[in-house]
């Protein structure tokens, strides 16, 4: 492993923009790293080295001409979750259904990254259509956790988190519907942010659950995440649910937070997320993190959000309901997989055979759950009731943010589990997102920042910081202060302690 891949995105960008190194050199180094470790990891579904090098060369050319960099991240390599459309790469969503589908258009996030000069090296693995918490539901095989190759990297965005944790790329994009950015970040020792709903355009993000899905950054430092957040965030007229307001000043907040002072900041500890059912090592790491926040000057208060207890069941009605409708379009008529079209079968039969063959078991389970929940006679009891819970959760957050500036909790109840451990137990799998789901239902901002290793298994633990809608910067400030203090106390960033995979890969 060369030193370049160990650099943060901010450091790489500074050196590229100073023409101390070239973007091509940076990209080539990362492509070499991917070639060395990805066979063991399987973070990527698609790589396009030549296109990445060409994009990097274009950045270098501009800098040599004396053009200012297109953005603070111009020339930095990035991995894109395979749920965003790209005209020059396939977009499969980890599904057999879209194997080999090349979209005719770029997602807004893709377009913004290109415009910012960010070098997209490839598309990352994910649970099929973002449904899962382990990346084991990918039709193309699981991604492994760089901390322990026998364990999952979380999900659905396990590919993006693993790629960042394994130094394949300094930056990645994920999507978070119930925790799919934060949970993988927590279990891989990376920083993952779910921006305020509507803060990042969903145009070109293949929908799982439209009212919950939100794209966001994955990085190794809070500042890198903030830099990426500002590149992809902002109003998009192509997404009616996008917020027509300036992107919160997250970079400024990350820099301010890094000075380490949280005096006067009120931090609420969610009492619902610290009881039984949490791995003891996770609980202890969380308590240490809370103490550290107190040492930084924050006022710590216990806050009760009673409706959070109902968040998980409400989520598993709303998300499947929306997905049953969103995924109806995959019918083999216009694009993607088509099965059974032998000239003798009706369109209806072909649709049915295609969906039978194209979707994996978890996707089918959720489509069936959602179809049932929306059915006449059941709608009020299920979907309708879940929406009421959602309203209660929004109220709990509002009441909590009257008392405190941010809320904190463990990001996940456990550290990374073993591959195969929960595949036959959907309920156990669903519990991985227990702490992350409320922010999706309410639409506010939340992130996960590394909180050390669990003392019982030596695996990364995440600290979740939740902030009100459009106050993403608050979460960044607290996370940056905590990150600086933890790194100081620990002698460097947690992720630098990830095992050397090149050895493992050989």
């Amino acid at each position: 492993m060369t030193r370049l891949t160990r650099c943060s995105a901010a450091e790489l960008a500074a050196r590229i923009h100073a023409q101390d190194i070239t973007a091509v050199e940076v990209t080539r180094t990362h492509l070499d790293r991917i070639a060395a470790v990805d066979p063991a990891l399987h973070a990527f579904l698609h790589l396009d080295g030549p296109a990445a090098l060409a994009a990097a060369a274009a950045v270098d050319d501009g800098l040599r001409r004396g053009d200012p960099p297109a953005s603070p991240l111009a020339g930095v390599p990035l991995a894109l979750k395979d749920v965003f459309t790209t005209v020059d790469m396939p977009t499969t969503c980890g599904s057999r259904m879209l194997q080999g589908w090349w979209p005719p258009y770029d997602a807004t996030v893709t377009r913004k990254l290109r415009a910012a000069g960010v070098v997209i090296v490839g598309k990352t693995n994910m649970d099929e259509f973002a449904m899962g918490s382990s990346t084991e539901n990918s039709a193309y095989g699981p991604t492994r956790n760089p901390w322990d190759l026998d364990r999952v990297p979380g999900g659905s965005g396990g590919g993006s988190a693993a790629a960042v944790a394994a130094f394949e790329v300094p930056l990645a994009i994920g999507t978070d519907t119930g925790g799919s950015i934060r949970q993988p970040s927590a279990v891989t020792g990376t920083v993952g942010v779910k921006p305020t709903y509507g803060g990042v355009s969903r145009y070109g993000l293949v929908a799982f659950s439209s009212s919950l899905d939100q794209g966001g950054p994955v990085a190794r430092t809070v500042l890198d995440a903030a830099l990426l957040h500002e590149v992809i965030g902002g109003y998009d007229p192509l997404d009616s649910t996008s917020i027509d307001a300036p992107v919160p000043p997250v970079v400024q907040a990350a820099r301010a937070g890094a000075t380490g002072d949280l005096t006067g900041i009120r931090v609420g500890v969610v009492s619902q997320f610290r009881g039984d059912g949490y791995q003891p090592g996770v609980r202890r790491a969380f308590e240490v993190a809370v103490s550290r926040l107190r040492e930084l000057g924050a006022d710590i208060v216990e806050v009760s959000c009673p409706s959070f207890d109902h968040a998980l069941p409400a989520y598993y009605l709303i998300a499947p309901s929306e997905c049953s409708s969103n995924l109806a379009r995959f019918d083999g008529m216009r694009y993607g997989l088509r099965v059974g079209d032998d000239g003798g079968r009706s369109a209806e039969e072909v649709m049915s055979l295609t969906r039978e063959a194209g979707f994996g078991p978890e996707v089918k389970r959720r489509i069936m759950l959602g179809t049932y929940a929306l059915s006449a006679g059941y709608y009020d009891a299920y979907y309708g009731q879940a929406q009421k819970v959602r309203t209660l959760i929004i109220r709990d957050f509002a009441a909590a943010f009257d008392q405190v500036d941010v809320l904190v909790s463990p990001t996940t109840p456990t550290t990374a589990f073993r591959i195969g451990e929960r595949v036959d137990d959907p309920m156990a799998m669903y519990l991985s997102d227990l702490c992350t789901i409320p922010a999706n239902l309410a639409g506010n901002a939340a992130l996960s920042v590394p909180a050390g290793l669990s003392d019982d298994d030596g695996l990364p633990v995440g600290l979740q910081v939740m902030a009100p809608a459009l106050a993403d910067d608050r979460a960044y400030r607290v996370a940056a202060a905590y990150e600086a203090a933890r790194d100081d106390a620990d002698g460097g960033p947690l992720v630098q302690r990830v095992p050397d995979l090149e050895v493992a890969a050989r």
């Binding site: 977009t91 879209l98 439209s210 009616s240 649910t241 929306e322 109806a328 006449a376």
Partner: protein, 499 residues
């Protein structure tokens, strides 16, 4: 397969018909409901499409503001309340011509509710049809079933899909159950669709072409036994593509259902297909249990909350509506009910009103449309409104006559020129030299010539029979091809004779 039919009078003796009409109207907005694709008819298949209207993974809808305003204007014109807050829902069902396998539509939160439309029947009486709702939705693509006998899916070997229409904005106007129509049920159905068409045309929100599918009517018909107050099972007849078909479809269903019920059978709740050629309906998709569309609020769009100011502003944009125009015709133009009805039946009322609005006196405007132009329409076999002359062009011709620049005879020649698409009235006048000749030198020469050719007439005039001057005027008019100013010719005749 021909169904047994009950005699119409017997149907009414034994049953009361109940109607429900659902009219889909394609809005003539420049772009589609949720994307920027052009909303045009008749372009090559799959050329007006984008990721959004093709329902490609990741694509999202953005609501067309003009379509929302059109929906609100239609609601206001139908005396509906405009919802202070409403939203879209997803109607989920699988069909290949529906790109997302759900239709973005309004369900339990429509933009306009509780209105009415007064329709005029032959004989001049009014019947008020209550409107339940007007809501917005998107159209589907079109399936073309190939290899079967009649273009229907049954017997087809394969199907072709055209998504140009997918996402075209639609307004669906739904009536409340229409009771009390009795023997006039078929006529009322037709009159309602006609009145709605005229209203939408006046609002300028749709082409309202039933033949092109930009206005489509589904007719729900049921029969309720006399003495009962419970509605019978209804059928929904689709493919009703003309005003005449609306009337015929309702009448046919009444007679068919009457026969089924009289023979002890029961009506199956189903969609039926109207066949223009045989004027009959045939069973289509069964609807024994109402299909479960699993409606839920569309999460990709935000709710619409029209402000009072917005609604008030739109109210001021409503044009004169057909019934307001009829009232004006009676009071301002002094028409009798009978005259008015003839004008309405001839499709001339709106044209006359537009001609009046363009500056012509009502009497002249009416005279042109009901006599000369009606003859022209008849001989061409087209509707009056489809003649290639606009009210503004006719008003200009009428103005030229009033100025004395054209005689009535010349005016007809100019109108013929407009109908032949030779240009604007003034251009035709100039091109053909049709202007009235009022030049005294030219006219004096013509009058002298005419008097010389008829010395006996000249003598009579001199003897005091002034009326005889008409013969000379006529001769001059003939000699000048009708272009002479007749009034001036008459003056010259009298002056020259007495000179």
């Amino acid at each position: 397969m021909t169904a047994a039919l009950m005699d119409y009078d017997e149907v009414l003796e034994r049953f009361e018909p109940v109607l429900g009409l659902e009219v889909h109207v394609e809005l003539s907005t420049a772009t589609k409901m949720f994307c920027g694709c052009a909303n045009v008819f008749g372009t090559p298949p799959n050329t007006q499409v984008c990721p959004t209207c093709l329902g490609l993974p990741g694509a999202l809808p953005v609501l067309n503001g003009v379509a929302v305003e059109s929906a609100m204007r239609i609601g206001l014109a139908l005396n509906c309340s405009i919802a202070p807050w409403c939203r879209f829902a997803r109607k989920n069902y699988f069909y290949p011509d529906m790109p997302k396998n759900f239709q973005t539509s309004q369900y339990d939160e429509p933009i306009a509710v509780n209105g009415s439309l007064a329709v005029e029947l032959s004989g001049g009486s009014l019947f008020t049809v209550e409107i339940e709702r007007a809501h917005m939705e998107e159209d589907t693509g079109k399936s073309l079933h190939v290899g079967g006998s009649d273009g229907r899916i049954h017997g087809a070997s394969h199907s072709l899909l055209d998504y140009n229409r997918a996402g075209v904005p639609l307004i669906e106007v739904v009536t409340k159950p229409i009771e009390g129509a009795e023997a006039r049920a078929p006529e009322i159905a037709r009159a309602y669709v006609t009145a709605l068409r005229d209203l939408l045309r006046a609002l300028n929100v749709s082409d309202v072409r039933m033949d092109q599918g930009s206005m489509r009517c589904d007719a729900n018909v049921s029969l309720m036994p006399r003495g009962s107050s419970t509605f019978g099972t209804r059928t929904e007849t689709k493919n009703v593509n003309s005003l005449r078909s609306v009337e015929r479809a309702v009448r046919y269903e009444m007679c068919r259902q009457g026969a089924v019920l009289a023979s002890g059978g029961r009506i199956v709740q189903e969609t039926r297909h109207f066949d223009e050629a045989t004027a009959s309906t045939s069973a289509g998709r069964r609807k024994e249990t109402s299909e479960d569309y699993r409606y839920f609020p569309e999460p990709d769009l935000v709710p619409i909350a029209p402000s009072d100011d917005w609604v008030a502003r739109l109210r001021t944009t409503l044009p004169e509506l057909p019934w307001q125009r009829r009232a004006r015709a009676k009071t301002e133009w002094g028409l009798s009910d009978l005259e008015l009805r003839d004008l309405v039946n001839a499709g001339a009322l709106d044209l006359i009103a537009a001609t009046v609005d363009a500056g012509a006196p009502a009497a002249e405007a009416r005279s042109w449309w009901v006599s000369y132009l009606s003859q022209q329409a008849n001989s061409r076999g087209v509707e009056l409104a489809d003649l290639p002359i606009t009210p503004a062009q006719l008003a200009r011709v009428i103005a030229l006559v009033a100025e004395g620049a054209l005689t009535n005879n010349l005016a007809r020649q100019v109108v013929d020129g407009v109908l032949a698409k030779e240009g604007e009235p003034d251009e035709i006048v100039a091109a053909h030299g049709l202007a009235v000749v009022s030049d005294d030198a030219a006219l004096t020469a013509a009058v002298e010539q005419a008097l010389a050719a008829a010395p006996d007439v000249a003598e009579k005039i001199r003897g005091g029979k002034v009326a005889a001057a008409g013969a000379i005027v006529g001769a001059v008019m003939k000699a000048t091809g009708g272009q002479a100013n007749a009034q001036r010719v008459r003056e010259l005749v009298l002056a020259l004779v007495s000179a």
